[in-house]
Subunit: 464 residues, 2 copies
């Protein structure tokens, strides 16, 4: 009897629960359908991206392009008639590439092979006449240590560990290879290397070098050595030639410079919450890009998608319960100053950021989201997955949100990252090929709609 | 007490079941991991596709390209040291485009706008001097009927219904628009139209016309009118100009021809099953393509992926229980003769095809599969979904398999189609842009591995 009662109670509870779910599910799925339909039929994201890439172009921190992007971002947000639009001062590092880099392999007897390189962001210049030296090829820092100072002194260290092709999620493969680029020069300098050449961070074999940030850490100014990325085809050639003849020489010349900090801005627009105005939801991407290409996927896509979230809400007459902010962060690529500043000011003002969503993984077909959240928060959010199934964007995983929103993390709030299909991203990442022709309009619009859907659900139901 | 016993029994059953599942799941997931890793690190699919597209090129039924593709397919399958490789005779229609088409809008006073068109596959030629006539723009056949013979007679019918942008799965949008292309000429001819111009089947606005098959049905030879696709930008222009001035004239000229049937082949390779050799599993795509472009996605991708399935099994030393055949079907695009012939011969020989898998939706990131199956078969197969989750290819839906394998359907067997991400497919479908540059190596390889995984599971566990 006791068992029967328990059984009946459980059944009743389940039934009520599923009833309650049902009703929300229906109205929510109707609203999500509207968001997707509107983004696909009446979206602005692609038109905006076309402006950002073709009319502004690259937007490296401290550049004229970045300045113009700030102006454009402000005007675009103002055009949406939000409750408030403002700029937030951020001091950003200004690094310039200077004139085009030049590099070749000298295999003796007058035989040279020109190879494509690009100075890494933050790298110092070579001497005006460039550097010519023998090459030590390594896969990682352990190998560097094993080879030792005597064999490295006066040479160019060539990091040639490819991104692993058998990792499904390409960002994981990137994480597993990128320390060669970020710390390679600082490490090689310890052993007396005179320069560093790094295999481009991509799976694909191509002639396009991929730039990206690097850091000398605490290395003294006079110990800093220049570092450049070489295209993967160039890396394959250099490696093959080193194996044939370890005495070949590598020449490269670049005149990049660090010019100190300059003033720039985060651009922020918000719709005030009607019920819980002090609970803030952030949606954003980064306004800056590398100087090669037009930063179409990285992160023009994230910027226009974030603005589109607010525009979709306005267009559909949706009045959020909580305060929703689009934040166009400055300087993600080489300093993260925008993200840090935003979090710092939020803390000063004692603002309660309950949720942050970043799109900084390309404007490709959305597959889902990753969440930095507690188990119970993640479980609660995962209950919404079926709402995303019709759009094939229902892969919800635990993981990071995004670099810019990272500094906002507390042990109470939730951060999320849009997870688009990642297979093509590193074909164009940080290269001259990151242009709007590499972005598919529908994929971009689907991403914006998926983001708006998640923000809507968070706004409706909170995070706990 | 009775309840308790029942409860305990249920728990025990569940436990045993999950134990049994667990063990299979583990070994299966290990094998799937091998398939994916091998495809991504040691795959041949991209290299083969490069050969097919760059060394052979387009492969329209009856063309030299198709002949060379048959030869290449046979040699490639033979290179895998399968148990048997053979050609199957198929009579295919031979249609040729002839010299390049030419079209312009004549808005009077000497003002003309040249627009890009492509004759539809199967269309008759215009008269040698072309056709020049007034234009009737319609969205569908109902509108045609409403306008009526008096207003259509002697004019060119311009079908301009776009593919719906707010349908998530682009193939559904395609299905909803394609009757304009396939039956447009036959319908318009009934009302005395002299020619047909069809908006290209794509969401994107571009200058590239999309060809594709059309049929006159039972229409008498002397009633047949020429039909061509116009690029979407051309369609937008033509529509705008018709609205400004309904009296504008459209001119087009093409000299396409139907040359009757010629001999071609399906190419087939098989690994004999070790336990159930009479249970046949087919994996395939179509070897023919349209004559514009190189048929890289449509369906070079499906061909190389299907061959790769067998190669992966050979390479990993997997000995299938059931007979597995790769079938490179001829003439999917404009006749489906290969698919029909294969099924006809299978029936004659009383062969038992328990399962067929086709890849003919592009070489993009695999999202999952659609299945033509009974509810219980689908339920059983759906239990494997978690095995595909690590590869984000776990969207299993009910639906069709593929055109070529369609004729194999019985009420007992299961047919399946690989479902890649569909957002970009109609940017390049049936155009000069369907070249290998539009194919991402990793996406192609992931598709091949997903196919091999499904075939492996069917081979291991059957379909019932």
């Amino acid at each position: 009897m006791k068992n029967q009662l328990l059984f009946t109670t459980v059944i009743c509870l389940l039934f009520n629960f599923s009833q309650a779910q049902q009703s929300d599910f229906e109205s929510d799925s109707i609203f999500l359908d509207k968001l997707f339909k509107t983004s696909l039929t009446n979206g602005k994201s692609y038109e905006w991206l076309s402006y950002m890439t073709n009319k502004i172009g690259s937007r490296l921190s401290g550049s004229l392009g970045a300045e113009r992007a700030v102006e454009w971002g402000k005007n675009t947000l103002q055009g949406l008639k939000l409750d408030k639009v403002w700029l937030q001062d951020v001091m950003v590092p200004k690094w310039v590439r200077g004139t085009s880099e030049f590099a070749y392999i000298d295999s003796g007897g007058g035989t040279t092979n020109v190879v494509p390189i690009a100075a890494l962001g933050g790298s110092v210049s070579t001497p005006p006449d460039g550097i010519k030296a023998r090459v030590v090829e390594v896969q990682n820092f352990e190998e560097l240590e094993k080879i030792g100072k005597d064999s490295i002194q006066g040479k160019i260290v060539f990091y040639n560990r490819p991104m692993k092709p058998d990792v499904i999620e390409t960002f994981s493969a990137y994480s597993g290879a990128v320390n060669q680029r970020t710390q390679g020069a600082a490490e090689a300098a310890k052993y007396g290397a005179v320069g560093v050449i790094v295999r481009s961070m991509t799976h694909s074999l191509s002639d396009v070098p991929h730039t990206g940030t690097m850091s000398y850490g605490a290395l003294a100014l006079n110990k800093r050595i220049p570092a450049a990325a070489i295209s993967t085809n160039g890396a394959e050639l250099l490696s093959a030639m080193c194996k044939l003849n370890p005495k070949i020489l590598f020449y490269f010349k670049q005149n990049s410079k660090n010019l100190g900090d300059v003033l720039s801005y985060n651009v922020i627009g918000e719709i005030k919450g009607s019920q819980f105005p002090n609970e803030i939801i952030v949606v954003g991407g980064h306004l800056d890009s590398w100087d090669l290409g037009d930063g179409a996927h990285d992160d023009g896509a994230g910027i226009v998608q974030s603005i589109e979230v607010l525009r979709l809400f306005k267009m559909l007459g949706y009045k959020p319960k909580r305060t929703i902010r689009a934040v166009l962060f400055m300087n993600e690529e080489n300093g993260l100053r925008g993200g840090k500043k935003y979090a710092e000011v939020a803390k000063q003002k004692d603002e309660n950021h309950i949720f942050g969503l970043e799109s900084d993984a390309g404007g490709f077909t959305p597959r889902g989201f990753s969440f930095a959240a507690t188990d119970s928060q993640f479980k609660r959010i995962s209950a919404w997955k079926p709402l995303f199934t019709p759009y094939l964007a229902d892969s919800f995983t635990k993981g990071g949100g995004g670099a810019d929103i990272g500094p906002l993390k507390t042990d109470k709030n939730v951060l999320a990252g849009l997870r688009p299909d990642s297979q093509r991203y590193f074909d164009i990442h940080h290269t001259a090929s990151d242009v709007i022709g590499a972005v598919n309009k529908r994929e971009l619009e689907l991403g914006a709609a998926a983001m708006a859907s998640l923000i809507y659900l968070i706004d409706q139901y909170g995070i706990n």
